[in-house]
Amino acid sequence: MALRNLARNGRRTLISLLVVGTGTAALVLTAGFILFNFRGLEGALVHGGLAHLEVADAAAAAPGQLDRPVSDALGDWQALRARLQALPEVSAAGANVHLMGVASTPAGKSASFVAVGVEPDHERAMGFTTRVRAGSALPAAAPAEGDDAALLARGLAASLGAKPGDVVTLLALTPDGSLNALDVRVAGILTTGVQDLDTRFVKLHLATAQRLLQSSGVSDLLVMLRDGVPLDAGKRAVARAVAGHAPPLAVVDWKARAPFYDQVKNLYLGIFWFLGTVILVLVVLSASNTLLMAVLERTRELGTLRAIGTSRAQLAAIVLLEALWLGLLGGALGCLLGWGVTLAINASHLQMPPPPGAVEPIDVELALVPAAFAGTVALMLVVLAVAAVVPIARATRLRVAEALTAV
């Protein structure tokens, strides 16, 4: 009966279906775009150097503390890394040394730097990508003394006037407070993808960094989880593996080390809900108008139904069912539309300009998430139920005797 009533005024119902469908498609596309951004940001952070988890000296890794100086707490880091790599939840682990200092060239140019010493083969196993723009990547094997190399970020290389093959001197403060210098060959020029970091970043082999700091310790161990392992479960497994270590170690997930992630996420969600609210209000107004017109045009018919014994609740159910069908059909139409547009956008390889602070454009690829489609249709059903409130009130408050005389 509800479907037949909707079919009565085909043109008006079609317009409402298009409004509901377009609203659904807009929400699905926006959700896809936002999920794409979340996933992209998460991927960039996790595979850009944070990994899923970090194991560090508990004293250095207090909440809010992001600096990771070389620590004696991880003196047994090689054994610890082997233990972590043996966990079924873990795909790879690698050690890092973090340091900062001043780089200078024989020509007398100098600039401050921040550096990370890495194990290149373990980095590759963790899926980290180093974007080398000139020269070559760091060799996997630990360099012999006097054969140290470095990758300079391109902004830093430009300010030093350094190119692959040149030698620069790195000066840093060792953990015991003395200054040490080390000559390194520029193996290559890299970009971090972040404009600000490109002016001061240096990447070294772990052995080179330890040589510069005159320390055999590391700052932290990074742990990459296997695909499908939930972050919390992986974190619990790693925490169990390092429990009882002396001195105590902390296990920190990537979100805690990237506090801006939640800020970005909340910003996107705020935009989504603002847009969503505007869309939903438009859908409510349009659908409410359609349903109200349908009720007003059927005043005598609804009066007749009440006269022959239809209760107010039954009459409300009849109008509500029409609204829900409108929501379901419009939602399904919108999902089809959203799915098609998503595929079209993804196939067209559109690029967005680099976000603030980044240096490379982003490929737009909207996420296709079945749960987002189902959730949007469910939301449309709720929205149409809201849109039906006024028409239902109008239908159920009809004065029967008067309604029977309506033209």
Binding site: R4, R300, T304, I308, G309, S311, R399, A401
Partner: protein, 246 residues
């Protein structure tokens, strides 16, 4: 049928019923102190010109409206003191309605229209269908059950409306100008159906009409003018005392 009152008491009664309608801010009297009793099984015409108050009185007896003053009783219950939900239940279970303009649901087939009162009463699908088909057969439309109202003639539509009014075996049928939109031949046929149903079931029939041909066939004619009863004639008509006496 649910009937809590004794067979001797009237099915319908109106005592000192006053009803006004509002035309803008001006109250317009529709009924001015009507007293009337209708016995069980009786066939009564409410006669009078337009504006005389016959439809208003029919609506009050049908629980579609409530009086401003006085009491309208159905089987001993004061309709004016019942809740809207209780009046709706009475209309659903105990009364049938026939309207001048047929008032069928246009998106439902003839059979679905007849099934409707059973559907809202919660009758099962198989039982609904069986009773609706029997009711359509009783009005001679067993071959037209799948047709929508716009595929039926005026006479056929009114016969579907009668089947809808009778399918749940009500205590009484209230018909408001049931022949008003029909030619004389179809009008007679519709009246035949209603009177036959009265004879066969002993249920009550109230007909609001100003059609002399209808009035001539009904055994009791209550005449209204300007909202007051001005005459109550008995005798004549196609249904005799046997019908009234039940």
């Amino acid at each position: 049928m649910t009937d809590g009152a004794s067979a001797a008491s009237p099915l319908f009664s109106a005592r000192g019923v006053v009803k006004h309608y509002r035309l803008g801010k001006v109250p317009v009297p529709a009924l001015r102190g009507v007293d009337l009793e209708v016995a069980r099984g009786e066939v009564v015409a409410l006669a009078g010109p337009s504006g005389s108050g016959k439809t208003t009185l029919l609506n009050l007896f049908g629980g579609l409206d409530v009086p401003d003053e006085g009491a309208v009783m159905l089987a001993g219950r004061d309709l004016g003191h019942l809740s809207e939900a209780e009046r709706t239940r009475i209309r659903r279970k105990e009364l049938g309605f026939v309207f001048q303009t047929f008032n069928l649901v246009p998106v439902l087939s003839a059979r679905e229209n007849v099934e409707y009162p059973l559907w809202i009463a919660g009758t099962g699908a198989a039982e609904r269908r069986r009773r609706a088909e029997a009711a359509l057969a009783a009005v001679g439309l067993d071959e037209r059950g799948t047709h929508r109202p716009d595929q039926l003639s005026g006479g056929e539509r009114q016969r579907v409306a009668i089947a809808r009014a009778l399918v749940h075996e009500p205590l009484a049928v209230l018909a408001d100008e049931p022949t008003g939109n029909l030619d004389s031949q179809n009008g007679e046929r519709v009246l035949d159906l209603l009177l036959r149903w009265n004879r066969e079931t002993g249920a009550t029939l109230l007909v609001a009409t100003h059609d002399p041909a209808v009035l001539a066939r009904l055994p009791r004619r209550v005449r209204l003018r300007d909202g007051a009863v001005v005459g109550d004639e008995r005798g004549g008509g196609a249904v005799g005392d046997a019908g009234i006496a039940r």
